[in-house]
Symmetry: C2
Subunit: 312 residues, 2 copies
């Protein structure tokens, strides 16, 4: 059995606030067709791929807020995307704002799904590491209110047998946390799919962190890939969206940590790669043979302590 | 109170098998004096800095093996180094093979110590992530027998208040494991000192991992620094030693993940940097505010599982 998965990373340019879901789905379908023409098994779309990045605004009306969310998946506008995927025989990863009815209440999550070539949802992930704040920062033109609008994901970091391998998912800020990759690595993950929306220039700071945003983006994905011997497919919503700049440089990263394909624009752009799911085997059997080398007795603080506590 | 620590990273070129401890200490003192002339508060030496990298050979005679270890620290040959440090008023990190008498038995560790400007040992670390094998690999000209010669460190990853900040240590292969940095990050570490001996070309492998060794070396240190908002000072024993090549590129890495100083040779070479221990504060207060963002309930597999277990 072949262990090559041809993956398309379908970066998106900006989505305007007024852009309709239907218009966005047209763009997704165009990218999906392009990926299919390139022979892809799987196409990866960004985080919150159906709308503009609405957490940048304070939205106080609950009904207006919920309009940014999907009540069902597939829903009225997204059904066409599922149908097209099934028709073409191509799977996809899609990020969206999920309005879920669970435990007799309504819940809001920043979610991604994995859909197989038959159009079936075979995996779901809800973002664990929500960045930003609950309350708006006064005087800041660009807010980042994910902690206000979303609950912390309640599914952990599951992996799924799909596309001939073991596939995991995460979303945006999750990629900065080594725990994200490691929990999936301990489940033998072979490919991690992740979408992101990463604004530049939200804060002034003395160490010029904003100029480093593209560097940090790749640094965390490359180290997460290498340290867990897994492919990582990171896909941006990029460009100048509603007055704010978002980084691009969507990348397909090998288990060696090397970037093997990268977007060069800030627009809708597809890159592809034939990902050999056995490419991580050498690392798994030697330097990153977890069973041989990990010493969990010395890691306990990772779960026993949340915040940093300096010694007395 | 100033929070600038001027650090010297004192890379060493190869140490021949026949080179005496005394000759090596001469080299360490020369580097220490150079660091003092450059105004350093602290100079960082490599892992196993007193001898050649002896785990590359199978040594079957226990007495011959123990000759590579230090029975006391400072000992007969290393006392001069401590005296010189105290005389100059400069601290140091030193890696060495430690023969310890504990629990009524003799123990072997791959150890580092932190010595203050008064020549007092103020911190000790014993390597947790021992690479290589217990048994020699047949047909391999270069062995890596750390698992045979050393016990797993029994001190965890402690941090120490020293040099006006919070200082942690690790050794060589520890740097590839995100748990290493995170356990120290959760103790508020501001600077991690680490020495390494990293051979190139021990294995043939289909993915040309050997050519990537210098890239991986920096990748893991840079991500560990950034993800924990800490300085990392990584110091190599480098060059062509007893028929084997070892990587150099010793580096001082800022909490941004940026390499701010790097060795350009494979010989004894000092690089220095004024490390602002407050440089990580911006990250600690925002994107890497652990208390605000970490979700330990989803990290449990990191301590509950040692090896990778694919889903059924």
């Amino acid at each position: 059995m072949t262990r090559i998965v041809r993956v398309g990373a379908a970066q998106m340019g900006p989505i305007a606030r007024k852009e309709s879901r239907s218009g966005v789905v047209d763009r997704l379908i165009a990218l999906m067709r392009q990926a299919h023409s390139a022979g892809c098994d799987l196409v990866v779309f960004p985080e919150l791929a159906l709308t503009t990045f609405f957490p940048r605004w304070l939205i106080e009306d609950p009904g207006e807020l919920d309009d940014w969310f999907e009540r069902e998946m597939p829903g009225p506008e997204t059904k066409r995307l599922f149908d097209e995927g099934r028709h073409l025989g191509i799977g996809f990863y899609l990020g969206y704002a999920e309005l879920a009815r669970e435990r007799e209440a309504t819940h809001h999550y920043n979610t991604s799904i994995l859909v197989d070539k038959a159009g079936r949802i075979v995996g779901k992930y809800r973002k664990v590491h929500l960045p930003g704040t609950v309350d708006p920062l006064s005087g800041d033109p660009g807010q980042h209110l994910e902690k206000r609008y979303f609950e912390v994901g309640n599914l952990g970091f599951p992996v799924y047998r799909a596309f001939g391998g073991i596939i995991g998912m995460c979303i945006c800020n999750d990629r900065r946390w080594p725990e994200t990759y490691r929990v999936m690595g301990l489940q033998g993950v072979e490919m991690i799919l992740l979408g992101y929306n990463s604004p530049v220039g939200l804060d002034g700071d003395p160490f010029e962190v904003n100029a480093l945003e593209p560097f940090h983006n790749h640094l965390v994905m490359q180290s997460g890939a290498y340290q867990n011997a897994t492919w990582v497919v990171g896909v941006a919503k990029a460009g100048h969206e509603e007055g704010f700049d978002m980084i691009g440089q969507s990348a397909i990263i090998a288990p060696s940590g090397e970037i093997v394909a990268m977007c060069r624009t800030l627009t809708d752009e597809l890159i592809t790669h034939d990902c050999d799911l056995d490419a991580g085997r050498y690392y798994r059997n030697t330097i990153f043979n977890f069973a041989a080398h990990r010493r969990t007795e010395h890691y306990r603080l990772i779960v026993e302590r949340t915040g940093a506590e300096p010694p007395s």
